[in-house]
């Protein structure tokens, strides 16, 4: 089980957090203007990356804050955490 460094609370056991999938998929501002294909892209299609992934986690059993994590999905190593709205510290 990971240790996740919540940007608000510090390092905590993974069991306190819930995963929220790929990050930086912004909900379209004008969904009605999207084609069915474009909407499906937002709704369902994912990169599902093997390697460095930008993803969302929620400190569900802690401060309840959402934040971003950069994790390598091939070895579960966490490279960085950053708050929602912040620029990723690693590109």
């Amino acid at each position: 089980m990971f240790l996740i460094n919540c940007p608000y609370c510090g390092e905590r056991d993974q069991s306190e957090f819930s995963a929220g999938g790929e990050a930086h998929i912004v909900r379209p501002k004008q969904p009605t203007e999207l084609s069915d294909d474009e909407w499906a892209e937002f709704l369902f299609m994912r990169k599902n990356i093997k390697g460095i992934q930008f993803e969302r986690w929620n400190h569900a059993h802690g401060c309840r804050k959402w934040f971003n994590v950069i994790r390598d999905t091939s070895n579960d190593k966490i490279h960085a955490v950053y708050k929602m709205g912040e620029e990723p510290p690693i590109k």
Binding site: Q14, S15, G21, L43, M45, K50
Partner: protein, 417 residues
Amino acid sequence: MKNKYSIFSLIKNAFSYHENWQRAWRDPVPKKEYEAIIIGGGGHGLATAFYLAKKHNMKNIAVVEKGWIGGGNTGRNTTIIRSNYLWDASAGLYDHALKIWEGLSQELNYNVMFSQRGVMNLAHNLQDVRDLKRRTHANRLNGIDAVWLNTEEVKKFCPIINTSPDIRYPVLGGTLQRRAGTARHDAVAWGYARAADAMGVDIIQNCEVKGIKRNGDSVEGIETTKGFIKTKKIGVVAAGHSSVIANMVDLKLPLESKPLQALVSEPVKPIIDTVVMSNAVHAYVSQSDKGELVIGAGTDAYISYTQRGSHDVVEGTLKAILELYPIFSRMKMLRQWGGIVDICPDASPIISKTHIKGLYFNCGWGTGGFKATPGSGDLFAHTIANNEPHKLNADFNINRFVSGDLVDEHGAAAVAH
């Protein structure tokens, strides 16, 4: 098959100290070109190759596998086979598979040990009861042999379940499909490999796909660690790694690859003679022919390709096992492991063409792909050979995520009042 397996061949070979058995499959060097290439040497991929050769007369084909055949989810799952699915499309697909399972050992001349010891699904709250009854009614009208059992009948069929009304989530009943059961996972991969090889299919192990070559809208071949191989048709059956292949052609799939764990106990004399599944408390258990309790745990919620999940999931699963079977508290976990499952948002698979000509995907089986292996292979072979889906897999196309016509097998949403 020149080297037919039977009790007689065993006796015959015993005289020569088993020194004259032939190879189960060859170890060929890849040819320059194939009529079709299957990426992924798991059960589904090998079955696809087998049916392409057997039913569609496509014999100049290859299966490429980055590791060893059957080394992925085929060899890591808890081998539950059933077809008591809710929706017509799923029932059609899984029962097609179940019917093939029933004659598979003979078809392959390889004992896959398909054992129809029944699969029971338990209900623990009133909504479970409604959902399972709904499924049972649908199954009956679809010709699938599922029946509803009340609590006493559950207890009778599997006496070791704790059916006391005093437990936290008492068993309120369950469904039973008697034709359902388990099979020997390795034998499925090996049996298909041997039978496909006998028809000329090249099974190329330790050959990792590094890229897919395209010419405009069509595929032209694959780049591999053993060089470039030309082909006009590529069937991708890479399970947890489907997205990795899809990303090579900038195709995004509605998949997430997550860790799924399982464990076995030490072997004991027969104690449970059926497969019992409980969605509500997350416990799946059966006993292998060797005597080990085979227990399926849940998936973790995060994407990972490590084949490892979190200990919490294992603990949660065993907690549920002890709730339903307090007699197992002194049993010991012998081995635990993880696999990578590719999960679709509607918990149904994709067996489909793509917008790229000659590129086909068979993926998204989530936690339950093993049971479909023969059916999946048969239908995927049909789709590749005819460039059109069979009517049994037509609903499992990729386009359903655009139109919204999902095959939602999650069952009812939340328990609510």
